[in-house]
Symmetry: C2
Subunit: 316 residues, 2 copies
């Protein structure tokens, strides 16, 4: 899988594998482990205050000499403070999501930071390109956590992005194996962003119970809920049964907001309340059958990718 393309060159990485920045999951430990294995690790700033982000960036730098990045959700009220942190700490790569890609891009680019924006449809992708992003992540609705309201799947989103956009496309959503990476490259992506698989890794800062829930889940164990607030994919549990019933009965935004309440992601992912918490995870959870180190995950992804590519080569 030693591939040379625009993404591996942009981030100076060995493999076209990016670990998604995830709340309560991807601190310095996970990000540095991924970068040390030849991928691009991302610190997920979504669940961090600026001070904590500084700490994670510094620890990450001590743990790896390789490139790593930070994911910043632009809808955060203190997004600009987080942006200032990454500039001050001389982080070289920023992934932005959940907001207008042009919001801080001039500032980031003025500091020679590579900027990638996460999108869920073609027009968002074209907008991200037009404001000067160096690449885009196209995230399909099979992804864990927050998704775009159009519910485009990875299989349909990636080729339509690749056809309409000149900057490189990174595929996200549903990728948890080397075969998935090969499929994403077949569809026109130049790299993949992997979430749930890394969330279940030893180096992930998620609760052990959350990781165990991913491991024991099968193909039908995630559900997309909260469409009126913003579609969110999570593992089914006691809480999702209630939430699903609310939606079937036509609950409005206010009712749903009240039902979600505060810190439900933290409760599930970080504190490990697997029945009342929100356990964000992707539809590929059924493909994950053990809690492994990042190193073991990389070895498996690469072996699986290379074997399947050889298989395809020999088909015709």
């Amino acid at each position: 899988m030693k591939i040379k393309n625009r993404i591996t060159e942009l981030f100076e990485i060995e493999f076209p594998i990016i670990q998604a920045g995830m709340v309560w999951v991807s601190g310095w430990k996970l990000a540095s482990a991924v970068s040390n294995c030849g991928g691009l690790g991302l610190i997920g700033a979504g669940s961090m205050k600026p001070d904590l982000l500084v700490e994670h960036i510094q620890k990450c730098r001590n743990a790896t000499s390789k490139n790593f990045g930070v994911n910043i959700p632009l809808l955060r009220k203190d997004a600009e403070e987080l942006i200032d942190v990454v500039i001050h700490e001389k982080v070289k790569v920023v992934f932005t999501s959940a907001g207008h890609p042009g919001k801080f891009i001039e500032k980031l680019k003025a500091n020679k930071i590579k900027v990638v924006h996460v999108v869920s449809n073609v027009s968002q992708g074209m907008k991200a390109e037009s404001v000067g992003c160096d690449g885009i992540v196209g995230e399909g609705v099979e992804a864990g956590g927050h998704n775009g309201k159009d519910e485009l799947t990875t299989f349909c989103l990636i080729p339509q992005l690749a056809e309409n956009i000149s900057v490189p496309v990174i595929a996200a959503g549903g990728i948890a194996s080397g075969k998935g990476i090969l499929a994403a490259l077949s569809l026109g992506a130049e790299a993949v962003q992997i979430g749930t698989l890394f969330a279940s890794s030893i180096e992930s800062s998620a609760n052990q119970s959350y990781k165990a829930s991913i491991v024991k889940s099968n193909d039908r164990d995630t559900i997309l809920l909260l469409r009126k607030l913003g579609p969110t994919r999570m593992l089914k549990n006691l809480w999702t049964k209630t939430a699903e019933q609310y939606e079937l009965n036509g609950a409005d935004e206010t009712e749903l907001k009240n039902l979600v309440g505060e810190k439900r992601e933290r409760l599930g992912i970080f504190e490990g309340d697997t029945e009342n918490g929100m356990l964000e995870a992707g539809q590929c959870a059924g493909l994950i059958n053990s809690i492994d180190s990042v190193e073991k995950i990389f070895k498996k992804l690469i072996f699986d990718f290379d074997s399947q590519l050889n298989h395809l080569k020999n088909l015709s």
Copy 2:
């Protein structure tokens, strides 16, 4: 793309491309054109009475010396009559969907018919295998028309099926290009079933206005509705706006059934009422930009597949 695998051998076809059996779309003309190009054409019996099916089978046989099949939705009240037709007419391949795969399988196998069942999750796939199906179609939620209630995407469904099932898996949902075929094979499928792309072809019996609607649609122009009846994907139009509002308000099954009424698929697909009809189509509609002959479609699929496979070969 000249591939030898279990599917190409099972159906005696040159390319691992199967044309989906679709209501109001796939009569003898489309099915024979696909078979003549080296794929497997399927007559969609879903919108045919037994007499009409006899006529289509006979015309298809006159139009091609190659193998073709018939798709039979098992929920049809007269499904057994349709089964008797295919046996009497010595059709060699039957794809069943929407019902229990074991219902008529002994009768079909006793007549040496190859049977493939369409599934949307792993347990359905395992059931289809256990009753003796020769293969299964795994259909992701990006597919046009009726979908499984679990809303598994092609990217997640196919590898999980391939991992749990021994008979060959055919990928459906979201495939409208050679890159898509390569991605499906990367994920572990041995062939693809393509719907919307063939529905838009010259040989499709759908209305010209329906075909034009597919051509002009973009990535966000389909919607999955009627979840309480059975999730169905269609192009957005005047009617879907109403249906969407019903669902957002929590409409129950009876209200939805009344809203759909009778023959709304026929109205949209066959009669061409693009505002009030149901225009079943897949999320890959945005990739389709012209109404082409089946021959031209095959040439493009094969060229695109071969080019992308060469591209992957040269990456590493």
